[in-house]
Symmetry: C2
Subunit: 411 residues, 2 copies
Amino acid sequence: MTVLADGGQAAGRAAPGAAGGQGGDSAAPPTIYDVARAAGVSIASVSRVLNGRRNPRPETRDRVQRAVAELGFVPDSAARALSVRLKEVVGIVVRRPLSAGPPVPAPWVPAGAWDTAGLLGYDAFADETESLQFHDMVNRGVERAAQRRGFDLLIRSVDITDHDAGRRVLALARKSDGLILHDRVLEPDQLDQLSRQIPVITLAGEPTPTTANVGSDNATGMRALARHLLYDHGYTTLGYLGGYGDSPDSQARLETLAAEARAAGAVLFSGPQWQGNYYAAGAAVVTERLLASGTPLPRVIVCANDQSALGVMYVLRRSGVDVPEQVAVTGFDDIPMARHLHPQLTTVRQPIGELGETAFEVLYSMISREQPAERDITLPTRLICRESCGCQSGGKLAGVTDLSSVRHLRP
Amino acid sequence: MTVLADGGQAAGRAAPGAAGGQGGDSAAPPTIYDVARAAGVSIASVSRVLNGRRNPRPETRDRVQRAVAELGFVPDSAARALSVRLKEVVGIVVRRPLSAGPPVPAPWVPAGAWDTAGLLGYDAFADETESLQFHDMVNRGVERAAQRRGFDLLIRSVDITDHDAGRRVLALARKSDGLILHDRVLEPDQLDQLSRQIPVITLAGEPTPTTANVGSDNATGMRALARHLLYDHGYTTLGYLGGYGDSPDSQARLETLAAEARAAGAVLFSGPQWQGNYYAAGAAVVTERLLASGTPLPRVIVCANDQSALGVMYVLRRSGVDVPEQVAVTGFDDIPMARHLHPQLTTVRQPIGELGETAFEVLYSMISREQPAERDITLPTRLICRESCGCQSGGKLAGVTDLSSVRHLRP
DNA sequence: GCAAGCCTGGTAAGCGCTTACCGAGCTGGG
DNA sequence: CCCAGCTCGGTAAGCGCTTACCAGGCTTGC
C-alpha cells in the first residue's frame, strides 16, 4: 500500500490540479482513471470490479484490485452519488436552543407566551444544551444502524425559535438520501412538501401519508407512572412541567397524566407557568418562578423528561425543599445520568438507542423502496422506580411497577 | 410557494423517474432544468442567479428567483460538489467502544496488555458510552462554526480496537472536504498518507507536516492541579487513572503529573493496573480491581478525564470509602455533569466547545487555501477547585487556584 | 450615424463515476 | 469446419450542476 499517483506513470490525465497549497505536497486523490491506467484496463472494468458486476475474468480482477490497493483508491462520493442517485447519507435534524443568551437571573416572560427564550442560561447549567442529550443517544442508535449499511450521518441543528426552518432543512435534504427529524422541526405543510420529495421519518407525533413515525409509548409509560404516584403513593396534587409547548411527546404525556389525575380525583397543575423547554436550565427557571410566586407547590412534580427533572431537583434542593419528602420529582427517558442523581430519579424508560436504530431501518427501507415499511412504530416504555418519587432506595413498591408495554404497530 | 413540478409545464425532461413507490406520490426533486423551463431562461442563467455571478439583468433575476421559489428548488449537493469540487461537508471521526460486551463482573486482564475490552459493561454505567460525552460537546462546537459557512457534519465512529480504521476513515474522507479526528484514530503512517490527500485536523497529539492540531494546554492545567494537590493539600501519594494507553492527551497529562510529583517527592502510581479507557465504566472496573487487590489506595486519584472520575467516585462510595476524606478524586475536562456530582468534582476546565470551533476554522482555512493556517493551536485550561479534592464546598484555597494559561502558538 | 465596446444570456464541456450497448474473441454443437 | 451463442472489456452517454467561451443586441463616443 501507500504511494500516491505522483511518481511514475501518473502522467496523461489532469495533473495534480490546483494543488500545491501551503503545508506539504497535497496531491489530489486518485481517480478511477488513475486506477484504470495503472491496471492497464478501461475505467468500466475498474468500476465493474469495484461494484461486483458481471464478474470479470479473475486475472483482470486481480490487476484492478492490486492497482486499487496500490493507489489507495476510494471512489469520490459525489460522483458516485450523482451517477447512482444514492448518497449513502442520512440527514438528522435536531432542534435545540442555539443562541444561549447571557445568564438570565429570572426574567419575566409574559404569561401565555410560548417563549422559551428566557429559559436558557441558568448558570449552574451553562453548556448543558451542549451535552448529555437524549438526542445524542438517539443519534448514536441511528449511527449504529447506518453503519451496517454503509451510511453516514449528516447532522444539523435548528434553533427552536426558527420558524422558517424549512429552508435549512431542505438544504440538508439535498445532501442526503433521507431525513430523520427529531421532535417537531417543521410545520405540517412544510413537512408534507418535503416528504413528497424525499423519505422522511419523524421521531415525534403522527405519521402522515408520506412520512413514517417512530416513537415510544408515552401513554403506557406515563400511565404506569401516574398510577404509581396516585395510588401507590397517594399523592393528590401534581404539577406537570412540560417540554416545548408544541412538542407532541410533551403533549401526549400531559394528556395521559391529566386523564389519570382526573380519574383519581387529583389536582393537576400545568399550563404556561409550567412551560419548560426540555432542558435543566429551563426547568430550573420555571421552578424558581414558581417558588417566587408564593403558590404552594404540588406534592409531586412530573417532568416531561429527565433533564427537566434535574433542573427542578437542583432548584428545590437549593431552596431547602426536600426531595422526595416534601416534593417528589419524576422524569421521563431514563438517561444514564438519572441513576446518578441524589435521590436517584424515578422515571420512565424509553429504549433510546433502539429508537434511533429503528428510525434508520424504516428510513432505509423507504430509501431502497423495499417492502412497504410500517409507517407507525411505537416502542415500549416502562416505569423505573427509584427514589425521587418517594420510594425506598432501590426498592419498588408492590402494585404498579414494571408495566412493560407492547410493541404497537399501526398499518 | 409549494407546488412541485408535477402539474403543468413539467413535461419535456425526464419524467418523475423511478418514482411511484408505496406510500404517496413521491416526485423527484426539481432540477435546474425545471427551473430554467419555468422561468423561460437557460440553465446557465439560473445557475448564475443562484450563485450571484455577473449580475444578470434584474428582470431575468426576478423571473428566475420566482421560479426557484415556486418550485422550492435547491441544487443537488452531489452534482454541485462534483462540479465545484466542494462538498461543504466535514467529516468527524470519533473513537469509542462500539461493541459493548455483556456486563463483566471483574474480568482479569493480563497485566501489561493495553486491552480495554474488559472495561465496558459496568452495569451502573450501561449506555454511558452513548451519552454525555466530551466528544459530543466538541462536535457541537464544530457544528456551530460549520453552520456559519454552510457546512455540515458527517459523523462516524470507529471502534477503539479497530486498528485498521484506515479504510473506514478514508471512505469518510471521500464524502467530505476535510476531516477532524478525535483522539488518536490513525497510526502515524496512515495519518500521513491521508493528510496528503485531504485536509486533516487532529484533536490530540502533535501537528505533522501535513496536518494541524488543535488541543488544550494539558501541561499548564495539570500542573496547576498537581501543585494544588501536592502543596495546598499536602498529599504525598497519588494515582493516575489513565485514558486509552495510546492517547496523547492522557500521556501528556501523566507526564506533567509525574514531573510535579517527582519534584515534590511524592509517590505516583500509574501503569497497566491504572489503565482506564476514558469512560466511567472502565474506571469503575479499574477501581474495583484495585480495591480487590488489597493494595492500599493513594491519598488522591487523579483521573484522565471527568467521566473516569465519575466511575471512580461511584465505586469508592459503594465500597464505603469517603471522598474526599479518605481518598480525593479529580477529573479533567469540566463537563457539565462535574458540578452536579457529590462531592462536586475538582477538575481542569478545557474550553470544550471552543476546541471544536477552532478545529473547524483551521480546517476551513485549509480547505479554502486561505492564509497559511497556524498548524498548532493550544487553548488555555484552568483549574476548577470544587470539593472532590478536599477543598471546602465552593471555596478555594489560597495559593494556586485560577491559573489561566496562555494561548500558545507554535508556527 | 457608425463602429468599438460592454453587457447579457445561451451553448457546450466537463467534474468522476456507473452502466447500456456493442464488438471482438472463444467455445462448442451440428 | 463453420457459425450461433456466450463471455468479457471497451466506448460513450448521462447523472445535475458550474462556467469558459461565444454571439447578439445595446450603449456610447466621436
